[in-house]
Subunit: 294 residues, 2 copies
């Protein structure tokens, strides 16, 4: 059994990007600049955004954090988005989700210019991804694909069952894995809350991608021996014995499933770190595109 | 066994649209106007475009056919597309595919303004469809969904196997059928040329959608008793005994498969006529949106 070490691969990718940034600097070029917009003080969001900003520093990107108060109006947020769209210094930016309830999330994501949408959430970028055109692929599915590619996991003609139809993970990964190309060409059933026989399906699967957010949902008796298991769930479980008051767990009953799997991602340290690496890769792409257009 | 009569349902939909057009006229409003761009003289394309124009006439739409010679340059075609984008008289238009080989199809489709793209081929519209937002859904998958809805075929929690991953049928129908909503909520494996065990998969399927374009690909021994069978294949087979020199056939071995199926679409007269009806429905939507914005 091989652990798909997202932390290690993520660091490799960051090192590769850092090398490119060094070369950019040597050539006297502008380095990539990522901005992050955070509204309010959600604990997990603060952690994620902090981690993104630190990663930028580490690899030599410029970064800007726009931290707005919880009671920011939709109008003010849209006005900031509009400013970021026009700002030639910013190559790409993200609006950290979830947004406070009084703000229409879809409206905000639609306002992000597709050329700066390094999260790949805008319909134009999502559509290009689905139609196999060059675009910003959203970071989590992109990270899963890259992890499979770097470990040279054979997916061609395999049965890859995806659990969960979210717009940010389940849906895009189901599309990417069934396209032509490396780490793809799989036969992909997408399962969800209305699927009646999930266990029957996962037992047939050569590859299982679980993106439900239900701790320990995928048990050892649901997995075929030798399967590749990708765990995209990240749930905080309250635990007063821990310093932070919680621990992080995935969708997979890791200790037992790893005895049956051929490859498996841990949580934390699997798909999570890959997500940040691919966001940085998208930002590098945005910079290269802007340079190309300039 | 029930024949899913696309011709009948298509006529119903056209009648419904015609009623709306009559009301528009009575209110003194502009009626929907569809334009079709045809380059060259491909036989099937001439038939399709002719049929679209006749359907417009029948239901009271205005229509314009822009028929360009085979040797039209890409530049000239893009310039026409640009004119159509700007023409306030045209609510929506299609560029009939395939285009001659010297023209970059993707470049042309990208140039069609998403608000007039009643074929739903532009990435922005495709992305909205995939993200479950209101948009122009491309006519063939939209027609399949509408046919299933009008016959009240139960798809919730069912296993719906899609054969073929084309951008205009297989991919979008796999997305639509696995979304929430009516005629959806199915568990959907998308199969393609690299899938190893298609027969094993189709034998598990409650619903099979075949969009391969291979005559008689789906045989009776590949179908579970009681399955719903949707045939999207339309192939012209040469036959000198026929007046036209060919006959039209689908992917499904209809005569034998119909003995096992609960519902089945014939070819011709199944999905084909639905495609035109949904194109008209998209054009009506385009008109309503333009009126809303005016």
């Amino acid at each position: 059994m091989v652990i798909l070490d997202g932390k290690k691969i993520s660091n490799q990718i960051k090192d590769e990007i850092a090398t490119e940034v060094t070369q950019m600097k040597e050539r006297g070029e502008k380095v990539p600049h990522l901005a992050a917009v955070l509204v309010g003080n959600d604990g997990a969001s603060l952690t994620y955004v902090g981690s993104k900003v630190r990663s930028c520093k580490r690899i030599g990107f410029e970064s800007t954090l726009k931290h707005l108060p919880e009671d920011t109006t939709e109008e003010d947020l849209l006005s900031l988005v509009n400013d970021l769209n026009k700002d030639p210094e910013i190559d790409g930016y993200i609006v950290q989700l979830p947004l406070p309830k009084h703000i229409d999330e879809q409206k905000v994501l639609m306002a992000v210019h597709p050329d700066k949408d390094v999260d790949g959430f805008h319909p134009t970028n999502f559509g290009k991804m689905a139609l196999d055109m060059e675009t910003f692929i959203s970071a989590t599915p992109y990270g899963i694909m890259e992890l499979l590619r770097r470990y040279e996991v054979d997916t061609e003609g395999k049965h890859a069952v995806i659990i969960g139809r979210s717009h940010i993970v389940g849906r895009p990964i189901s599309i990417l894995m069934s396209q032509k190309g490396k780490a793809a060409n799989a036969t992909v059933p997408l399962c969800h809350s209305r699927t009646k026989n999930i266990k029957e399906l996962t037992l047939q699967a050569d590859i299982v991608v679980s993106a439900l957010g239900v701790p320990h949902f995928l048990k050892a008796d649901m997995v075929k021996p030798g399967a590749v298991v990708i765990d995209v769930g990240i749930t905080r479980v309250e635990d007063k014995s821990k310093e932070k008051g919680y621990y992080i767990t995935g969708d997979v009953d890791f200790e037992k499933v790893k005895e049956k799997a051929s490859y498996i991602t841990p949580v934390p340290g699997g798909v999570g770190p890959m997500t940040i690496a691919m966001l940085l890769k998208n930002t590098l792409l945005a910079r290269e595109r802007h340079r190309g257009n300039a």
